[in-house]
Assembly symmetry: C2
Homo-oligomer: 254 residues x 2
């Protein structure tokens, strides 16, 4: 069985300008791999209407699942929801359930908060969207078709994703095994490693040099959905490292 | 004058799998903004030949400059250079200058390193490429057309970029001014901020909530290439924050 695929759209000028270090890619890449929906592409795009619409339509046709982060707050640059509505060709309109949750949230505050026009934007969604719960700050994300629209603030996005995760139908989880050795250089092992990769075409073998205060070296990582084959590839890599005079150490370098 | 635009391609399974936290996006976004070549899109793509070729051809037609990171080492998964050659429809062949630099580098080592087939891959480039110096580990990057091919290891990529930067012809640098206030919430300011954005259409005004141990609040950032207009927009934002009862603090929250 082939695993379903995912694409992540990071929407926001603040990432493209260097103001904000993205913290969502690594989290979602890891969690989606565990669920068996490997991330196949990421795009970081600006808060520009035409770009968001065109990109959403391109990637929702190309991947099984699309996840977006960013642009669902109350301010003028939060245009993700209305762009997704336009991409799907449906009205962007108040979502009764989201409206009720937010109205109740502001009414509960002491003193009561103002559920003003700006905040009402956070309850305005493409017609037909279903909500993604936000246990941190209430304003929900939503799902329409295969597109999952989440907040950009990492703490909120992570809470949204964990609520969503049990409902996502993944394939076999991606299993990963790492070995490393200080002193080993990529140029020494490249040819032999290429031969091991050729023996295990369905396993993704990666070679990653590292530079640490405790020493330089190479980490070799085998990934795949067939646990037995990942083990076999890892054993072959370990034996090869030892044959070069570098006994392998389990895991990533510390 | 309109500024030239840039697109970054981050090439590597290790970023898409969550193994590696990308550290190149923020660096390049910041430096390109300073040079006046704002980053308009980033794509993270896997080490898959067809994907690399198609993506390079799409983005080199769409943006003034393309920068790539990753996939130029000696191992089987380092396929960026041959894919770029295929994208440009030119042979992938030994580059005499790169070959000489690497041969000399391995000959200089004590004991001499082996300039083997795997390492020779790092001197094999698209015909017509010009080199990007690598003061850290010798193996050069290269430029072909408007595509700048750099290493994925941040220390090496940064050294390559700084050698390249003086030769890049940018537009006016993007100027950025930030104000913030603890206790302020986006929902309170969104409507007024939208009016300020409408008054300064050429200035990019962003609103970013923050959650810190020292307090929650909002940072407001004005960006643009016209310094006087950035100042005026910042003054308008500051006066508006004060009118809400939150005296603005200069800069980003600590």
């Amino acid at each position: 069985m082939t695993n379903p695929t995912a694409c992540l759209l990071i929407i926001g000028n603040e990432v493209l300008s260097g103001r904000t270090q993205d913290a969502n890619l690594k989290f979602l890449a890891t969690r989606l791999g565990e669920i068996g929906i490997p991330l196949r592409e990421v795009r970081v795009i600006p808060d520009v209407r035409e770009t968001i619409i065109a990109t959403v339509n391109e990637v929702r046709a190309k991947f099984d699942h699309v996840f977006t982060t960013g642009g669902i707050g109350p301010t003028h640059d939060d245009i993700t929801a209305e762009c997704i509505a336009a991409a799907f060709g449906v009205p962007w309109e108040p979502n009764p359930e989201a409206w009720e949750r937010l109205a109740a949230h502001y009414a509960r505050q002491n003193p009561p908060g103002d559920f003003n026009t700006a905040r009402q934007r956070m309850a305005t969604m493409p017609r037909g969207a279903t909500l993604i719960d936000n246990p941190v700050s209430i304003a929900p994300g939503f799902i329409i078709g295969n597109v999952h629209v989440m907040a950009g603030v990492p703490r909120i996005m992570q809470a949204m994703f964990e609520g969503l995760a049990p409902k996502l139908k993944g394939g076999a989880p991606v299993i990963s095994r790492a070995l490393h050795a200080n002193g080993l250089m990529e140029g020494q092992l490249a040819e032999g490693l290429g031969r091991i990769q050729a023996e295990f075409p369905e396993i993704d073998i990666g070679s990653y040099p590292y530079y640490r205060p405790t020493g330089n070296g190479v980490a070799l990582v085998a990934k795949g959905v067939d646990a037995a084959r990942v083990e076999q590839a890892t054993a072959a890599i370990g034996a090869f490292m030892a044959s070069l005079g570098f006994p392998p150490v389990e895991g990533e370098p510390g």
